[in-house]
């Protein structure tokens, strides 16, 4: 890839990022998914855990923020391609010289970055309204974990967008896929509570490693080697997801052109 083309792609990603951000910021459903729902889950979690000893508030704040991250990935990133189809702009996007995947990268990054606001809002709520002493055990490592998590979630978003576009019926499974990830990834409670047979499933999910890294660096109750392991796993999964999404995008665009289903509702 030439540097000129790379600059062009980066410019597209930047433009799409800004446009998508503006659209999301005024959408009632998105505001609920990214802000209201995680906030209500945080309040519920803080209230349910009030009898617990120890620094549980930061665990709940980070965990509820992650529920917002996953829900927005599922609902918004999952429909990144289909929404263009519903608006009648998918043919134009596929027809332009810029690959569709580049446009979807910009949209997915925008979704993931916006959904981080749920974690910030949860932090503010717990610290200012509920007056919990919220301290990050390893602030620098937490920031690195957050960057790794954004990359892993964005890569996952690049898999589900073409997957849902190929399998239109699957999108109606969105509601059913939301809570299972909250459970299996250990956003709000350790997966040790779950039956043993679910553990390998958790290990195969990038959000689990993201939760593990973020909880470990915010609560500080695990050795650093575990944090590095989580980063490594997120990196590994990001690479796998990117390779998989590259293949899915090729299949999707080819299939849509052959079957003439680009505008199929």
């Amino acid at each position: 890839m030439t540097s000129k083309r790379l600059r062009s792609y980066l410019r597209t990603i930047g433009q799409v990022f800004v446009l998508q951000f503006k659209q999301l910021a005024i959408d009632g459903f998105i505001i609920f998914t990214v802000l209201v729902q995680p906030l209500l889950i945080a309040i519920l979690g803080l209230w349910m855990m009030r009898e617990q000893q120890g620094n549980y508030a930061i665990f709940i704040v980070v965990g509820s923020g992650m529920t917002g991250l996953w829900s927005s990935l599922l609902y918004i990133s999952g429909s990144n391609i289909n929404v263009e189809r519903w608006l009648g702009t998918l043919e134009m996007l596929v027809g332009t010289p810029t690959p569709l995947a580049v446009t979807v990268i910009g949209k997915t990054l925008s979704n993931v970055v916006m959904s981080l606001s749920s974690m910030i809002l949860g932090y503010v709520l717990a610290a200012l309204i509920f007056r919990f002493p919220l301290t990050l055990a390893h602030p620098l490592l937490f920031v690195v974990s957050l960057i790794c998590s954004v990359a892993a979630f964005a890569a996952f978003g690049l898999v589900i967008a073409p997957f849902f576009a190929i399998n239109l019926q699957l999108q109606s499974w969105n509601n059913a896929l939301e809570f299972p990830m909250y459970i299996l990834a250990g956003f709000m409670f350790p997966i040790a509570l779950l039956p043993g047979w679910t553990t390998p499933i958790s290990y195969a999910l990038a959000p689990y490693w993201a939760a593990r890294a973020l909880h470990a660096t915010s609560s500080g109750n695990v050795p650093l080697s575990e944090v590095f392991l989580s980063w490594g796993m997120m990196l590994l999964f990001s690479v796998i997801y990117l390779l998989l999404s590259g293949w899915l995008f090729r299949v999707m665009v080819h299939k849509a052109r052959v079957d003439a289903t680009l505008s199929l509702q």
């Binding site: 009632g28 609920f32 209201v36 349910m48 019926q169 499974w173 509601n175 059913a176």
Partner: protein, 267 residues
């Protein structure tokens, strides 16, 4: 008189049936399973595990029963709201308000199938609790529990009818629905005992449907008789009736104003 009664029955059941069919016309069995089996199961498990993490495994029953009864709100809030508001999106409001049919029957009919479907959802939720988390129903008066589920599903549908009317005047009804649904998860005692909430929050809890229904269901599973939970169930019926009445007043007001201003089809 007999003929009018027959016509009323026909209008009620026909509109109830067709509004339900219309809402789920796009559904396939796998999608129905996703919405009615997988999603409720995952929601119950999430809150039950969170609750067990917070207060120990022996508290599983508290969370399972609370969240299973709360499932009535999936139909009561989302289903009923969409059955009322869907008329606007389908462009059929004009026909509905142009017909001479009794408005109360048409309005309440929108909730009928969702009450039955909601009850089924609660039963499935309890079944998951028994199978997966060992909830003990051996001391339960089944008839009393069934009546509690029926009343709770109906009162929650009353809230749905009111929200459905809001969907006739606002485009952001899903935002309202989602927020109300999650607020009910927090305030109605499904996950946090109402008595442990601050006083002003408790007052809100008791004007919401579900609160008394969830408390009654827990008492019945613990071995209480129908007589002992009777006052709570009467309260649940009254709360539901108030919401239905408020919804109906709003529904009639919408019809009158829309006809007067010619805004029936305005989006």
């Amino acid at each position: 008189m007999m003929k009018r009664l027959q016509a009323a029955f026909r209008i009620f059941f026909t509109s109830a049936y067709y509004s339900y069919i219309a809402l789920f016309r796009w559904f396939r069995p796998a999608q129905y399973m996703a919405s009615k089996i997988v999603m409720p199961l995952a929601q119950i498990l999430f809150f039950a595990f969170l609750g067990m993490y917070a207060s120990g495994r022996d508290q599983a029953s508290f969370y399972v029963i609370g969240n299973a009864v709360q499932l009535a709100a999936i139909n009561g809030i989302y289903g009923v709201t969409m059955s009322v508001g869907g008329e606007r999106w389908a462009g059929t409001l004009g026909y509905m308000f142009g017909a001479p049919a009794n408005r109360m029957l048409v309005f309440v009919g929108r909730a009928f199938m969702h009450i039955i479907d909601g009850m089924l959802g609660v039963v499935l939720g309890l079944m998951w609790g028994v199978l997966l988390l060992g909830v003990d129903l051996s001391r339960t008066d089944v008839g009393a529990l069934a009546l509690t589920i029926l009343i709770t599903a109906a009162s929650t549908s009353g809230m749905g009818l009111l929200l459905g009317c809001l969907s006739l005047i606002t485009r952001n009804v899903m935002f309202i629905n989602n927020t109300v649904y999650f607020l009910m998860l927090a305030l109605c005692g499904a996950n946090v005992p109402v008595s442990s909430l601050p006083g002003w929050v408790q007052r809100i809890s008791y004007v919401l449907p579900l609160t008394r229904g969830i408390a009654s269901a827990r008492d019945i599973v613990d071995g209480a008789s129908l007589r002992s939970v009777g006052p709570m169930l009467v309260g649940e019926v009254l709360v539901g009736a108030v919401y239905i009445l408020l919804g109906y007043v709003l529904f009639r007001q919408f019809e009158i104003q829309a006809k007067k201003r010619g805004t029936l089809e305005v989006m």
